[in-house]
Symmetry: C2
Subunit: 295 residues, 2 copies
């Protein structure tokens, strides 16, 4: 945890579930750390103070930067440009800046336009969260064991990317690196499209059908309970990769429709078997799955 | 539990997870009940005996019928015709027959063709289960608190439908009645299509994308771990309702694609918000959801 020896002061911009959980995780590991919480509403900032997710609070993101070693951007991604522009004049040499946004190509390009291509910004996507929103749901262990993807661009200095990766590892995360583009294509397929599919499925049944639903529909639509504003921004900022994923999925759905329309049992079984094998080989964790299934 | 006073002997045809769990649930409630287990393979029948899910076992479904009060069909639905034809000559007056199949219009029509329109068959769909397959995973509490849909047809005598409904209620299930057609349309939307969508999603990512996936993809694809043979039969027997559900879903996906392609933030947010509100109002059970999300 050498990285935490070098970090005495962290500014968290947007102290919601993720920002608050990062604050609590940092304090659990290093009680002497100082956290500055930045937000647009005094009420949210007071709540951050009351749950111990900030030591000082600020409406102006530039205010705490003179003493800050690391800035963590936790607002919706479409606010990043405005915030980074406001921070830029007040940043001191050596401060690292990263974020928790779910899309990376747009975010990294915009941050590098404002702050420069060789730092101090490195994109991060810690893949942890829940449908709960707000600092009140923060947990010191939210990030533990989950995956964080760090997305340096070609000109990011190695020690900067290493520092950001070490920061997330210090909070208990597994880490991986991808280019911003590769990240966006992968998450469009494994995270963003699944969210849209869950929302679409939630709107499919008639009202009279819902009492017939069981844990299958509930689990399959869980993502649809996510924050509409955050997810709107994700689809807007990751549109090209999402469109590609939608087209791939729609082609699969058309193929499946053909199997059903033609009563092609062999093709149906082969398709279902291929999906089952892939899931069982990669995602299924039998005990957790069984517990959910048995609820 | 007056119904269990009237049932001394039950024949379960297909002693897997559901049949075995029904046997264990019956024995937990009425230790004196006798269960005849029927199957095609002696090995499975021996396993049913060893876990206490059958008192006698039979390769010929007709063999135990002379003393049977209730027959529970738990094989894949496409085997029902052959089995009912084999049972028909040996059935005695007063024996009730029901099933656990996930589709009902085909099943009820076929059973009534073989056994008559005014009984003794009444369709049932107990909506319980798991991705686990086989009698070894049987649990006496598998059905408790879950929903069972009973699907009498217009000519089914009221006391027969009442008896089948009381049987599932005695095993701890909530019950509802639908016509076989209404059942099939509703489950196509809330159960069958969700299964296909999960399988399609599981096959969408490239291999290199999978390490980036988190609980979202895992939970959203849970259904894809189901038994391919069983689900093949479900799509084959419920094809018309599934095609209608696919077309409705594909139209929704095309609309969503348009919102993303046009960068229409207002439409995206309204869509996501509508889905979230509907789920939160109907399906979300906050404690269970939160626990899953936090894993």
């Amino acid at each position: 945890m050498a990285i935490l020896d070098r970090i005495q002061h962290v500014t968290i911009i947007g102290v919601g579930l993720l920002g608050g959980s990062a604050a609590l995780a940092l304090k659990a590991r290093k009680p002497s750390i100082r956290i500055a919480g930045v937000g647009r509403r005094q009420e949210s900032l007071d709540e951050a103070l009351s749950v111990g997710a900030a030591d000082t609070v600020h409406l102006d993101p530039a205010e705490p930067l003179a003493e800050t070693d690391l800035v963590l951007l936790c607002t919706p991604v479409r606010a990043f440009g405005r915030i980074l522009a406001a921070c830029q004049p007040a940043l001191r040499e050596g401060t690292i800046i990263t974020d928790v946004g779910s899309t990376k190509a747009d975010v990294v390009a915009e941050a590098e336009d404002i702050l420069g291509r060789s730092g101090p910004f490195v994109g991060s996507h810690p893949m942890a969260g829940s449908e709960q929103k707000g600092v009140a749901f923060s947990r010191a262990d939210l990030f533990e064991g989950a995956l964080c993807i760090v997305t340096p661009s070609p000109e990011t200095p190695a020690e900067l990317a290493d520092g950001v990766e070490a920061f997330w590892a210090a909070l208990g995360m597994r880490t991986a690196r991808l280019t911003p583009d590769a990240h966006d294509k992968a998450v469009a397929r494994v995270s963003h499209l699944p969210h849209a599919l869950a929302s679409l499925l939630m709107l499919l049944p008639d009202d009279a059908d819902l009492p017939v639903s069981a844990t299958g529909l509930r689990d399959t639509t869980r993502l649809a309970s996510g924050d509409p504003e955050m997810w709107r921004d994700i689809f807007l900022t990751n549109a090209p990769a999402c469109l590609e994923a939608i087209d791939r999925y729609a082609a699969g759905l058309a193929e499946f429709r053909k199997m059903v329309a033609e009563g092609d049992g062999a093709a149906l079984e082969a398709f279902l078997d291929r999906a089952k094998r892939r899931r069982d080989a990669t995602l299924a964790r039998s005990l957790e799955d069984r517990r959910v299934a048995m609820e």
